[in-house]
Symmetry: C2
Amino acid sequence: MIIDIPENSDFSIHNIPFGIFSTKDRSPRVGVAVGEHILDLAAVAELDVFDFNTALLEKDTLNDFISLGKEITTRVRKKIQYWLKDDESVLAGKPELFVKQSEAQMHMPVAIGDYTDFYSSLEHATNVGKMFRDPENALLPNWKHIPVGYHGRASSIIVSGQPIHRPKGQTKPNDAEAPVFGPTRRLDFELEMGFICGKETTLGESVSTKNAEDYIFGLVLFNDWSARDTQKWEYVPLGPFLAKNFASSISPWVVTLEALESFKLAGPKQEPEVLPYLQFEGNKNYDINLEVGIQPEKGEETTVCLSNFKHMYWNMAQQLAHHTVNGCNINIGDMMASGTISGKEENSFGSMLELSWGGTKPIKLNDGSERKFIEDGDTVTMRGYAQNGDIRVGFGEVTTKVLPAK
Amino acid sequence: MIIDIPENSDFSIHNIPFGIFSTKDRSPRVGVAVGEHILDLAAVAELDVFDFNTALLEKDTLNDFISLGKEITTRVRKKIQYWLKDDESVLAGKPELFVKQSEAQMHMPVAIGDYTDFYSSLEHATNVGKMFRDPENALLPNWKHIPVGYHGRASSIIVSGQPIHRPKGQTKPNDAEAPVFGPTRRLDFELEMGFICGKETTLGESVSTKNAEDYIFGLVLFNDWSARDTQKWEYVPLGPFLAKNFASSISPWVVTLEALESFKLAGPKQEPEVLPYLQFEGNKNYDINLEVGIQPEKGEETTVCLSNFKHMYWNMAQQLAHHTVNGCNINIGDMMASGTISGKEENSFGSMLELSWGGTKPIKLNDGSERKFIEDGDTVTMRGYAQNGDIRVGFGEVTTKVLPAK
């Protein structure tokens, strides 16, 4: 092995995720995570080993690299795997090609054109329906027919490590006649995964469930920050707006769909049967362990949620087929998030709204404090990895500290 | 006058709107509409008369030009007005600087990062509430407190002249047990205006109603195409998605806020009083006449709607202040649309949904045919202009033909 990869590293030889990093001495460029290092692809390109226009490895987003197409990008990934394993490869004896992750700064991996958020976990939709609407009819009639989704704000998607300020907004206390304005009192995370589109369509074109994977470059962890009190007041009839668009945080390394291939499994049975354009063949869910930790300003982190991407009722192929069935066009770099990923168990719920059941059952942290929602000074960290025996492919983390309202 | 401007032209000397055009012999670039011509700013730049980097006049979007800032862009606009009026100016004797609009192709004026659609007409919200929800409680409790809005799809915003295909999607007929799939049977337009952001903010920053105009570069006509049957089935609880994201059409010329300054007037009185961050001083509505025509495949156009931008309950300054009050960041080129602009009179309703009252009162066209919604082969054209005595500032038109479903 050209470089040491610690056992249990998210960034094993089986992974090779792409990202954008910078160092003190050089501006943002394309790299891949390998163990605790980053292989600097812009530097590798100087060895004249790639057969494409390597100027795009000097870019500060992956969009141009992704636009090369899967034929090329998967070949690059495989070449890197091969080089890393071969002690006499072009990477041998060139430690300058590897940057320590601890000495690099990560940036947004892609320029996101449009961002769509789905709502594809049955358990999450049911939980929210019980709390926001009618406990007896928690799931709306369309939910099992449509991968429900809505458009979100692309501009405020930020990369792991960037803190956010508690947002201000309108809320209407139950006992008040009129709304009031101030910092949200119900700041929440949502544990999601997001996929990044890797191929564009033209207006009027649709993507079938069969071909959907050609259009998915890779995945990241996605924290869809939410202000629950604002959401409750504003969301009828046109959906969440300011309750969601103040920030969403993503992990910096884009794990390719190919790296996740061996972790595929069947999703929940869909009943009633879905319309033909949403039907699919084969396994389309992914077994990816997910967790969320909360670290208070002064104190250690407490894991508050253990979930899994496999819980999704609607899979990514169905989401993409639905999104484009009306001819809506997608672009390289578009982000599509899963919606909160909750399982059946109470400790697998992917938001504080569900974990504390609307603030009625506070969560105990290791330092003895309690949380109904996220407090100023808290750092929320999401982690995710797939594991199959010795083979591990992980996402690293998305971590975000919450600062007081400005 | 350097060039003849027909009386009653939308593109009078008082207007000077910016757009992106191309000609047979030259790729897309920045121009301004003057009467029936386009002043080719990339060509003017070759006269060495501008004091900024004129390479950005060769771009295929206005974004870089807009990013120069209002101080420069308004000076450019004034210079052009001055040059056009002065028969001995730098433009004199240079007919090659002027391209006939009939010989140019118009393109999308800006690259749109994020697109937000508001819902700011009291009459429209009331009409839709009556039809989609409860006639007795048409207006939801939050409507007079919040400039309700939601995120839309930026990728599918197209320029006037580009046809669209009737979209397909899920709908659920009232008498059916399960949804069905097929071309929408309730294709509709929505008469809106959109403003284009001209200045960016950083995440966490807010724009006050007082400063909002600094952040608005200009306006276009906006047709927010809608599939009403899909909308009805999908929109609860997260808002419209596929019912809207298959296309929105805009007019190609961006009329600057400065050109509209003399058409300001007071908007409707807002009661109850709005929260402090939504309060404003001075006149913030604009008196802009709007109309919609439907032209069948074989036949003349019938005007089906006469409305006015002045009807808006919430003004653009309030929309922008609301959008950013939680720290949501905006970028140059972002599009914010007004929502359907309906007046009180039945012929001022800005959508077929309202004009035909949910399909119960068909509209008669001049050729004797009737319309409940838009049919294949129909061309929908929106026009808008402000007029004050002899002074006219217009938007031209946004025209879109509807082709059968693919």
